[in-house]
Amino acid sequence: MRPSVALLRKDLLLERRAPEAIPAMLLFSVTTFVLFHFGLGRDEVAGQLAAGVLTVTLLFAAILGINRLFVAEQEEGGFDGVLLAPIDRTALFVAKAAGLFLFLALVEVVAVAAFAILLLGPSPWPALPGLLVVLALLNLALAVVGALVSALAIRTRARDLIVPIVALPLLTPALIAAARAAAPLFDAAGADGPPTKWLAVLALYDLVFGLLAYAVFDFLLED
C-alpha cells in the first residue's frame, strides 16, 4: 500500500506545482455547459436531460484527464523507475486510479456548482446527497477504466486517438447507469432518491472492471 501512497503523493504534488489536468478539465466542463445551452436551445434543463448533460460532460472531461494520466511517466522515465523499484507493479495502477478519482472529485466540486447555476432548473440542494453517491460510483468507474485505458494507449503511436475510441464504448454501461440513476434527482417536480437498480448496475460495473483492471495491469508494464 505504501508505494501506491507515495506514487499518489507524487502525482498530487506535480498537479499542485504545475496544475495541468484539473484546470483543463474544469474549463472544458464549463465550456461544454455553455455549448449545451446553445446546442439544446434551453435556458434550464431538468430530469433525464439534466442528468444526461451532466454525466456526458463529466465523461468527456474525464477523457482529457485520462489522456494526460501517464504522460509524465512516459516522458520522464517513470515507468522504468517503477519497474526498477522493488514494488508491486499494480501499485502504479492503484495510485493512478486513486489520483484520477481525486482529480475528478475536485473538478466536480466546481463543475456541479457551475451546472446548477448555469443550466439546472430545479434546486440542486435536495439532490445533493443522492448525487454524491452517483458521482462517487461514476468516478470509480471512470478512474479504474481510465487508468487502464491510459496505460494501454500511452505507448501506442496514436495515443490521443486510441484513448477516446476505446474508453467511450467501454464506459457506455457506466454512463447509462449513472445518467439513469441521476435522472430522478433532477426531477422538476421534486428530487427523488436515485433508483437502487441503477446504483447496483453501476456498483457491479465498478467491481468487475476494478478487479479485472487490477488483474491485467501487470501485463502492460513488462518492458
Binding site: 487502464l148 501506442t156 475510441i165 468487475v208 479485472l212
Partner: protein
Amino acid sequence: MYGKGLRALSLATFAALTATFALVFFYAPLDADQGFIQKIFYVHVPVAIVTLCAYVVGAVFAALHLRTRDRRWDLRSYVVIHIALIFNILGLLTGAIWAKASWGHWWVWDEPTLVSFLIVFLLFATYQPLRFSIEDPERQARYASVFAIMAGAFVPLNFIAVRTATAYVHPRVLASAEGGLPGSMAFVFVVAIVAMTLLFALLVSYEIAAKQTKWQLRALRRRLLGSDAVAPLGRSAAPSLGEPSRGGSATRAPRNPAEAAS
C-alpha cells in the same frame, strides 16, 4: 501441415446450413403476427448469439495467451475477434432489416439486442486500430490480449445495462421461447444455431490455416532465396507468428528510452 480437418468441417457446415435454410423455408411455420419476415429470426438471433459467445471465447484465448506466453493463443484470439466482428456487422444489418420490416424503422432504440450489439461493435471495432498503432509484435500481442479480456468482460455487463435501460414495450421472441415458441420453431432455431456455430468455426479455421500457410511460405522462400529476396512485412494489425528468423530485431522491444518515446 496446416488446416487439418478443414474438409470435414466444410462439408459439415455446408450440410448444416443447407438443412437450416431448407427447414426455415419449407418446415418452420409462418409467424401469425409477422408473417414471412419473421424467418429472418433464424439468421439474426443465431448470428447474434454466436457473435457474443465468440467475443467471450476471444477473451478466454487472450487470457490463455497472457498465462502461457504462447503466441498461438494471440493468433487464435485475433482471428476469433476478427470473424466475430464480421458476424457482428451481419447481426446489425439483419437486425435493422427485421426492425424495418416489423416496426417500420431501421433503428429501434428499445430493442436491447440491437443496441447492445451496436455498443459492443463500437468497442471491438477499436481492436484493430489499437493493434495497428503498436509496432513491436510482442507488445502488440500483450496489449491486444489485455484489451480483449476487458472487452470480453464488457459484453455481459453491457447487456445487463442496456436490458435494464430498455422499456419492455416490444415482445421478446426469445423470452417467450419457454411459453410461446412452438416446438417446430424451436427445433429449427436450434438447428440454425448449430449451423451458425459451425460456420463460425469454419471461417476461423480457414483464416488460421491461411495465416500459418502464408508464414510457412515466407519462411521457406527465405531459406531458399535468401532473406533479401523476401520483402519484410509492413506494419500490420494481424499477429506475426512466423517472423522469428529476422535476427530477432523485429521482436526486440526498444530498450533505449529515446527510441521508445518516438
